[in-house]
Structures are given as structure tokens and as C-alpha cells.
């Protein structure tokens, strides 16, 4: 998983205060985040293979799915389009994490087959036959995590810089008001 050396502070307060002076600046900051997340999203989608990543992974849903798998839904069929469409950017804050931070931007994979492709073998860390066949023996971080690992640091630096610009903008406006 990508490291998180940059933690944004005061983003919500800055943007709320800046809204009073310069809504365009707020929108501009939002566009920076969206565009950066979109870049990551596109990159992640590009990592989804068109063909099933593993031989024998059927491309149509099972007629009689195993009742004990996924609440009776059975093993998901591989559909590269669905797997790609399942990747989305989100700015929901979500729950508070163990490090007392919340999300300010993330990629999610909502498709079941895409999620399996993303994380299979990740927890055990062992390259067994399944994970060996999956993606040529490479361990997990195959789509969204791979994208975040690749361009996440760059995104964070850019957004942190944009936030600093927003803070400066806010400070300048506050100084102006002060007189």
C-alpha cells in the first residue's frame, strides 16, 4: 500500500472560509483534486486486462452458482468492462482511521471480479498456484493500488501545493479585509 507522508490539515476550514471571498478559487481547488483523482482512476482502469486474468475464469455468470459463495451469487464472472467501470474516484471522508485521519480522496473498486483481481493473494502474501496464474505470479496491487503506488505521491504533492495556494489566497483576503 502506498505510504501516506502527506496529511492535509485545515482543508475543510480553509475552503469554507475561502468560499466567502473567492468561490472561483474554491472551485479551482476542487478541480485540481478531481483532475488528479481522475488521472489515477484512468491509470487504474488501464491496468484491468481485457481477457480473464486467469485461465478458466468464465466470462458468463454461473447457471447454478454455489450457494455458499457470495451469499448464493457464486463466483463472479470476469467482465473486464464491469471491472473497469467498477473503479471510481471518491471524495467521501468515510470512517475515522486508526491514525485519526479521514479520507480526502480515494479510488474504489466496486466490482466483485475486479476486487478479486485486485486483492487475490494479498493477505497471505504467498504466490500459490492461484495467484501465480493470476497476473503472472505478481503479488497484489494490480489495479487501483498499483495506480496509487505509481502516481499517488505526485498527486499528493500537487494537491498539497494547491491547498497551500488556497490558504495563501485566504490569508491575502483576510489581510485585505483587516485593512
Amino acid at each position: 500500500m502506498a505510504e501516506q507522508p502527506i496529511i492535509l490539515t485545515g482543508m475543510k476550514e480553509t475552503l469554507e472560509a475561502l468560499k466567502e471571498f473567492d468561490k472561483d478559487a474554491v472551485r479551482s481547488f476542487g478541480r485540481v483534486i478531481n483532475s488528479e483523482l481522475l488521472r489515477a482512476e484512468s491509470l487504474a482502469k488501464g491496468f484491468i486486462p481485457k481477457d480473464p486474468p486467469m485461465r478458466g475464469w468464465r466470462t458468463v455468470p454461473a447457471k447454478n452458482p454455489r450457494k455458499t459463495t457470495r451469499g448464493g451469487a457464486g463466483w463472479p464472472a470476469w467482465d473486464s468492462q464491469k471491472a473497469r467501470d467498477g473503479i471510481k474516484k471518491t471524495r467521501r471522508t468515510g470512517k475515522v482511521r486508526d491514525d485519526y485521519t479521514v479520507s480526502a480522496g480515494a479510488l474504489i473498486q466496486e466490482d466483485a471480479s475486479g476486487a478479486i483481481f485486485e486483492v487475490a493473494g494479498r493477505r497471505s502474501g504467498s504466490v500459490n498456484q492461484f495467484t501465480h496464474n493470476l497476473n503472472g505470479g505478481v503479488l497484489a496491487s494490480r489495479a487501483i493500488w498499483r495506480a496509487v503506488d505509481k502516481i499517488g505521491p505526485e498527486i499528493r504533492v500537487r494537491i498539497a501545493a494547491a491547498l497551500e495556494d488556497a490558504k495563501r489566497e485566504l490569508q491575502a483576503n483576510l489581510n485585505k479585509r483587516k485593512g
Partner: protein
Amino acid sequence: MATGAIVARVLSQYNGAGTKAAKKDLVTLSKGFDRMAKRSAKAFGIAAAASAAFAVKMGVDSVKAAIADEKSQALLANTLRNTTGANKEVIASVEDYIDKAQRALGITDDELRPAFAKLASITGSITQAQGLLGIAMDVSAGATVDMQTATNAVIKATQGNFKALRGLGVQLDATTIKTKDVQAALAAAAKTFGGAAATRAETFEFRMKRVGIAFSEAKETLGNALLPTIESFFQLLTQKVIPAIQTWLTANGDKLVAAFQMAIKAVFGFAIILYKIFDFVARNKDVFAGVAVILAAIFAAGKAVALVTAIQGIVKAFQVLRAAALGAAAAEAAATGGISVAAAAAGVAAFVGTVGLSMLALKKMNDEMDKAGSKVDGLEFSFDGLDKTTADFLSKIKNLNVNLKTGATNTGKLTAEQLKLVQTEKTLAALRKLGIAPTTEKDPIQLEAARLNLVKQGAVAEQARLAQILASQEAQLKANETLQRYADLLVVVQDSKISAEEVVVLAGKWGVSKEAVTVYIAAVYAVNDGKISTDEVDRLAGQWGVTKQQAAIYLDFFNALNDGKLDAKEIEKLKGQWGLTNAQVVEYGKQITAGVTPSALWPTPGNQARDSWKDALTALNAYVAASGAKIAAPEAPAAVTKSYLPPGFKPEVILPPQAKQPGDPGFIGPVAPKTTSTAPSIGSFTSPALVNKLLNRMPAMADGGIVNRPTIAMIGESGPEAVVPLSGGGFGGGSITINVQGSVISEGDLVAQIRNAILQGQNSGLSITKSAVAL
């Protein structure tokens, strides 16, 4: 977000939700601490009280044992001097022999000394007495009789009377009896009972007895350490207190009788007076204030994190209070045990009575404080129920800090949670009054969250860096403090001695105790030549009441800490030399830097008991001082100036009448001004080794440097230097004044004069520019 969706974090932020979660976790953590602290508080209190009580018991028993032992030793020594002409060394060797014998054989020195004294008297020889004592010990063990019986039998045998010896089971042949062959009789005794004492010593009973003897000897040793203080105590009692009371009794006897005949009210009033004389509450004002502040801080911190520290502080406060009460007890013991009752019966009665009454008052306060202390478990603290005489002070405390009682009354109808909130708010308000900045809702929590995050991520490097900066700053401050102390010492030893008054002044200036000052002076002197002699260690160990090893450790640390810190090399050296761990070296360094004295660094029951006695002495001095206005006390003797410099510190004049110049042999510092003043200067200071050592420890500025505040430093140690103020003129801002003296005939002479002046200016640090030499 769909259930089961995979999330890859791109951006993280702190916001209110994170803050709330962090706060919640901190509260949970605090509750954990709280529970732990509650469980341990009682144990801490009990252990502290028990150890304090044990220390005092040990002290009292030890003094008694030491007094008895000293008497026994004195009697034996006197007998040996009179009968065998033994000198000090021989008597010491006999004492050593007796000590070894009692430890090895389980026979007490109280039995051995009289026996040895008798045998020495009979034989007139130490050597023969030792031999006969050995036989007597064997006979005592073999025949199962006490040492006195066995010794008497041996003595009679040496006089040709073998009846007693035979009665104990020694078989003598007819020839020996008939010829009264003493040597044969003693040989027979030795043959009969030889090795009996050693065999008996290995039995379980005597092994236990030997343990008991070793313990008694330890107590006697402890008592010997206490005796000097006790002696001072007695002197004060006999020379000042009792005469003062006697004088007062003479003048006010009738009134006193009337006062004692009055009912409990009058007696109680007398106790109150004495109680005030002891000035107990006033002397412990800071302790009370400290306890109150700590308690307030507990409430502000969610009743948790500081609790353990607070409990320790409270226990310490109780110990201080008890020590004062024990002071009164000590005075009572001394008054009843050490004074001629016939000579000062009335005075003793009055003193015991008044001290006893003050004891009641102190005991009452102790009991009440204990009750209040037990309430700490419930995190409540009540100042109610204390002695009436403390009411004024306590009311101030209440105003100063938190009026908990009022708060509880006004908020009695609120829910528990609301009560807690109100309590916290009140405490915060009280803290604001004390100048403690209130905390905001967000920042500290966010900082704590960030800190926890750093810890979780293993990013401790930043923390370490900050800690290093803080440590460096602290070390710098300590170094400056050390230099300041050296400078202070230089000033006070100008007259080649350090008086008690100067010690008091230094203690006040440095913010340490008088004992710490004397320890500091002794340590500086001991390490001033860069090496620590065995004699110094022995002397200081006795003076400080610690072992020789502890004294040596202290001096080594003191020497290593001359720059205010321990570097890695010094730590390694100390670890290797004294078998300490890294943590122990660092801890010792901290304590010694903080001015902790050796006796406090290695506390022993003896030291604690001795401190109690010292407290008692202080209390008694306070009593005498305070009673001076009311009691016709005898005039105080002329003040005696006590020198705190070590023995061997002999004043000597270093500078000859004609002051020496730099470079001359014997020059040790700035030249004494050529004035007619007789006041000593640093240049005429008396101990060259000490002065040079102190001067060498000052920062040298030979390589230049910038100072931005008052700093004591050495300049000119490696040749001429210029001290140039950075504000005002600064570098290059000076001008060169050329005084042309003598006759200048030729142009060459003028050029030479100007050139010399410019060179002189250049050597003084001036920048020679075109403008500077413009005509």
C-alpha cells in the same frame, strides 16, 4: 460506497471527526491509567509510610545500640590501657579481634569484652589474654555455660586453682593438680573442649545468632553515623533550650503553675502557642500549595495521567509532615534521656509537657492529612477537619485554587456527567488564575493525534531530533550554570575561606540546599587537580554518609559533568569503570547535574533517620529563635565562622609584592591593579591549582566567537585578542589615533611612527581600509 468495495487511499486529512476519535481514545486511555493508579495509590502510600516508620525505628534503635556499644568499648579500652599499657592501635586491633570472633562464633561483643578485660588484667598481656579467651570460648561452648563462668574458671586455673575447671568437665591428672601445672591444666582444657566454639557456631541456633549479631553490628554502625547529629541536638538542649526554659520558669513560675492548673482550655492554648512557635504550617506552606496544584492538575487532565505523579507528591508531602512531627518526638526522647533531671527538673517537665502537647497537635494534623489522603482514591480532597490554627492558611489555599466544596454544593442537583463537566470547568478556571494557559478544544488533541500518528508510522526521527535539540539547550544552560557557580566560588574564596554565611548566600543564589553547596565545594576541590585521590574519597565518604565506592562514583560523575553533559565517551568510561548500564549512567548524570547530594542519591535508612534528626534540630532551632522574643533566653554566643573548605586548604600568597606580568612564572590570572587598595583581587587568589582549574573550565575565545548575552569567558589566553561590540561601532568602525612622540626629524621617522600605529591597530582587530588611513 458499495459494500465490500476495495479502497485505495490517495489523500488523507485531519478533521473534526478524527479529533473526536482521538479525544475519545485519550479518555479511554486515561480511564485505564486512572484504574491502575487507584489500585497502586494505596500500595504506594502504605509502602512509603512503612519505610519511613522503619527508618525512624532503625534510627532510634541504632542510636541506643551505638551508645551501649560505645560505653562497652570505652570500658575495655580503659582496662587495656591501665593493665597492659596498650596504645590506640593495639586497642583497635583488640576490637577487630573481638568483632571477628563474635561474627564467627556467635558470641556477642558484650560478653567478649568483659571477658577479655578480666583476662588482660590477670595476665597483663594482650597476647596471653587472646589465647586464654580462645580457651574460655571453647570451654563455654563445650560445657554449655556462659562466657562469664568459663572465663572465671580459666582465670582461676591460671592462678593454680583448678576446681572450677574440673567442675566444668576438664580431666586433670594427679600430677598436674599436685604440681599446680597451669600450662598442663590449660592444655587439658584445650584438649577437652578444643574446637567446641567453632562446632557450636555451625549449629542452626548459633547460625541464627550470628545473623542477629551481624544485624546488631549494622545497627551500631548506623547509630555511630547518627551520633554526631544527636550530640549537636543534646548540646542545643543543654546549652540553650533548658536554660531558656529554666530562666523563663524562674521569672514566670507562678504564672506557669496557674496556667497548668487551668483546665484543658488553657493547656490547649499553650499547645497552640507552641504549635505556632514551631511555625509548622508556615514552613510547609509550599508543600500544601504544591499538593493543591497537583490535585487541580489531576482534575484538568481528566483525573488520570498525572495521578501517579500526584500520589507520589502527596506521599512526599505526608513524609515531610511526619518528619516534622518526628522532630518533636526526637526532642522529647532527648530531653527525657539525656538531661540531668535533678538539675533541670522543672525545665524538663515543662519542655516535655509542651513538646508533648505540640505532638498532639501535630499528630492530629497528621491523622487528618491521612484521612484526606485516603480520599485521593475517590479523587476528592477536603481541607476540612484540620486544626483550627491552620484555618487562615487553608482559606488562602482555597481561594488560590479550587473551592471544591462550594462547587459540589452548587451543583448537587446535576447529573454525574454534568458535575464532572462543571468540576473540570472550575478547575480550568482555577488554573487560569494560577497562570496556567487554558487548553483549546482542537489544537492539543490534533497535536496529540499527529504525534500518535508519527509514532504509529515509526517516524520517530523527528521526535528524536526535537529531543536532541532540547537536550542540547539544556546542556548549554547547565554549562552556563556551572560557569556561573565557578565564578561565584571565585568571589567567595577570595578571603581563602568560605563561611557558613557565604554558604547560605550561595544556596539561595543557586536554588539548592546548604548541604548541596558544601557537597559541590568539596567535589570541586577533590577533582580540581584532575585526579581523585583515595584519601579524598575516604574523607568525603565519611562526610557524605555514603560508602567509599559511592563517593568515588559521585566524584567521577562530577568530574565528567564539568561541561554540563556526558558525552558518549564519558558514558562508556563510566559504564566500564563502575559496571553500570547505560540507563543508570544517564540517570546518575541527571541527578548529579540537578544537584542531588550523595546522601540523597543513595538513600539508606541511616540517612533517612539522620535527616529526621536534622529536621528535629531545625525545628528546635526555630523554636529557640521564635521563643527569643517571649522567653528570656541567654545571649547567643558569638557567631562562629565555620570554614567549609576541606582540610589542607592553606592560604598562600602567590603574587609577590611586585605584580607579575603575563608570561612570568607563577602568573595565574589578571594582574592585580597597581592601586593602594588592600582588597584582594582574583590575581592574588590563594590556591593556584583551584584557580587554574576554574579558569581552564571557562570557554576559551582564542578562536573567536560571538556572545549575545552576559557570558563569563576567557580571552587573551593564546595571545592578544580584540573584543569588539557588534552593535555600535563593530568591525572596521574604529579609528586610529596616532600620537607622534619625540622628535621627528625626517620623513622616514614620520612614516615609521604611522606604520607602527597602523600595525598596532591591525593587531587589535581593526580593518585597515583606505578611508581609515586617509589623512
